[in-house]
């Protein structure tokens, strides 16, 4: 187990360095002078030079690259151009707000989608199964900002059951905050229902058809016991992996959803920074999301290897 974790961590570090390189390449090496972009097309050259000196975009590329690597190691990304505040102070509260939304969405979606997946697998090829599969396909294939806009209109405005905007007034109680987050949480839950239910169904079908399940039935175990002790443990391995990946994506993939609900999370922050050409926030935000993604896929891998010791061999390829 120790060697497995060490190997996975080593690979994660390499991946992280590649991500930083990619982000650096996109923002600093591709054609287009960052200082000119910040100043705008009609700014005087002197102004552009002042900005270039401040953000160091005229330094040799190697110096700039080293700076980004060093910044990631210490997680100190300097000061934001637009807010004149340390990037860290801006991004961590945003990360926390996004996390609240993600946690709520997961609480809403995981039990329902796993139950639906197992239910569909037990009734494979019946009407109920096809209904779950079709619903899952539809819900996973609609962009989240589309379902968000529709839900916002239906539940938030037309029916008026829930607040249409996600951010509760500051100083509200936990329950009020929860009420405001419920609608975007549902919109996210709808998207992930499709993925998780589908993977669970496939895993469960395989597990139901296996020899160990047949043996469990034949030795006289009650169906409920068979599902809990034998099917779930084997069927959910893929599900755990998918949830791990989903959590990573949720943090940054939320851009459009956070915009629709006007929620100041990490995704919306990066979107605004893209418009403002606020390079420190952009760089730090994207790297932060990659870090979150890697932590959760690693956790998912560890969970899977705990559920199924065989998967530890040949891990990471």
């Amino acid at each position: 187990m120790g060697r497995f974790i060490a190997r996975r961590l080593g690979l994660a570090v390499i991946t992280l360095i590649l991500i930083i390189t990619a982000v650096f390449f996109i923002l600093n090496v591709l054609p287009g002078d960052p200082a000119r972009r910040i100043a705008g097309p009609f700014a005087q050259q002197e102004q552009v030079d002042i900005i270039a000196a401040r953000i160091g975009s005229n330094d040799p590329l190697a110096t700039q690259y080293w700076r980004v690597l060093k910044n990631t190691a210490t997680f100190d990304f300097g000061t934001s151009f637009t807010f004149n505040k340390p990037v860290r102070e801006i991004l961590f509260p945003d990360l926390w707000r996004s996390a609240k939304l993600v946690i709520l969405a997961l609480i809403l979606t995981i039990p329902i989608s796993i139950a639906a997946g197992i239910y569909a697998a037990r009734r494979k090829d019946t009407f109920a199964d096809r209904a779950v599969v079709t619903m899952g396909l539809a819900s996973a294939s609609i962009p989240e900002f589309v379902s968000a806009a529709v839900l916002q209109y239906l539940i938030g405005v037309e029916l008026g059951w829930l607040p249409a905007l996600a951010l509760a007034p500051s100083g509200s109680s936990f329950l009020v905050e929860l009420e405001h987050l419920l609608l975007p949480g549902i919109a996210l839950a709808v998207v992930y229902f499709g993925y998780i239910a589908r993977i669970t169904r496939n895993g469960a079908i395989k597990a139901f058809a296996s020899d160990y399940t047949r043996t469990a039935y034949m030795k006289g175990l009650a169906p409920r016991q068979v599902v809990r002790r034998h099917v779930l443990r084997n069927a959910l391995q893929e599900t755990v992996t998918v949830i791990g990946v989903a959590v990573g994506y949720l943090f940054g993939g939320l851009v459009a959803l956070e915009i629709v609900f006007n929620y100041p999370g990490l995704g919306r922050r990066i979107f605004v920074a893209a418009g403002d050409k606020d390079y420190p926030i952009l760089t730090a935000g994207v790297i932060l999301i990659a870090l979150v993604y890697m932590v959760f896929t690693l956790l998912a891998d560890l969970t899977v290897s705990w559920m199924n010791p065989r998967s530890r061999q040949g891990a990471g390829t």
Binding site: L18, I19, L30, L137, P143, I270, V286
Partner: protein, 298 residues
């Protein structure tokens, strides 16, 4: 059932099985299976509707999507079935004309990604070893970031135009395609025909492109349809974020971005109809992809 008549060519010796006609028959059989699936029919009908809208554009819309201005913000009524937007443009006409951009960009991006991904998948899957390890690390890195986010970065850095959108989506989709093709190539490489080609002394390029490639066309077609569905999704999201198609184009994602703020004020029609259009196109693409996948894999 119709009886197949084998083509005249190559039928000189009747006892030799004509491979070509057998292949053609298998293809026809698969098409027949496909046409029997309701999800394929439904998906194709929806897709066909949008293709017609995209091809004819303003020739068949009730009003001109860009330049007909009526009273602004009308609710859906007899003259404007889907209402009018803030500028008084007909929402129905704009929704119909909006199919064009997405139906050009998404398939182009998907095809590009399939080409590069197939080449990379063949190389990594056939050679394995160091090349595979190195490219694999890059794939892992790109996959750990949400595609929309990376696309947003590229658009910030190099500005935005249709070729940039196509290229960016193609680059972002290449890793996933590579991974799928690589898995298929590895399975094929274990089969006897590859080994016998190698013993015959064929070069690596010949084996990859002339021996393995024809045998993984099923996988490639499935991957292509799936990627087109995802590309529609990504183009719509990028336009919504202002990083895709630019105004005043009647694009759906763009229309939602412009109008979702009015939902609170009760103006739901300029947002809801483009939203339903995106949903219908993505679902149609997915229905088609799904039925092709189950027919090919069966």
């Amino acid at each position: 059932m119709t009886i197949e008549t084998p083509p005249e060519s190559g039928a000189a010796q009747p006892e030799v099985i004509d491979m070509r006609s057998e292949k053609k028959q298998a293809r026809r059989e698969r098409l027949r299976l496909l046409l029997r699936r309701p999800s394929f029919i439904i998906g194709s009908v929806i897709l066909l509707f949008w293709v017609v809208c995209a091809v004819f554009g303003s020739a068949i819309t009730p009003y001109h999507p860009l330049s007909d201005f009526d009273v602004s913000s009308q609710r859906p009524n007899a003259a404007h079935w889907f209402g009018t937007d803030v500028l008084g443009r007909d929402v129905l006409s704009r929704v119909m004309a909006g199919a064009r951009d997405v139906l050009v960009l998404a398939p182009l991006a998907a095809v590009l990604a399939i080409i590069t991904g197939t080449v990379l998948g063949l190389v990594t899957g056939y050679f394995r070893g160091a090349v595979d390890e190195i490219i694999g690390r890059f794939i892992e890195a790109i996959l750990s970031l949400p595609a929309v986010l990376l696309a947003l970065l590229v658009v910030v850095a190099v500005g935005n135009s249709r070729p940039v959108v196509i290229g960016t989506i193609a680059v972002l989709f290449t890793p996933v395609v590579t991974r799928t093709i690589r898995t298929a190539v590895i399975t094929e490489s274990r089969l006897d025909y590859v080994e016998s080609a190698r013993l015959r002394g064929e070069g690596a390029t010949f084996i990859m492109f002339r021996e393995i490639l024809p045998n993984i066309t099923g996988v490639i077609i499935v991957e292509l349809t799936v990627r087109i569905a995802y590309a529609v999704f990504t183009v719509a999201t990028l336009s919504f974020l202002g990083a895709g198609i630019q105004p005043p184009a009647p694009d759906w994602g763009l229309a939602i971005a412009d109008n979702y703020g009015l939902i609170q004020a009760g103006q739901w029609w300029p947002t809801l109809f483009p939203a339903l259009a995106i949903a219908s196109l993505v679902i149609a693409a997915n229905l088609i992809a799904d039925s092709i996948e189950s027919v090919v894999s069966s």
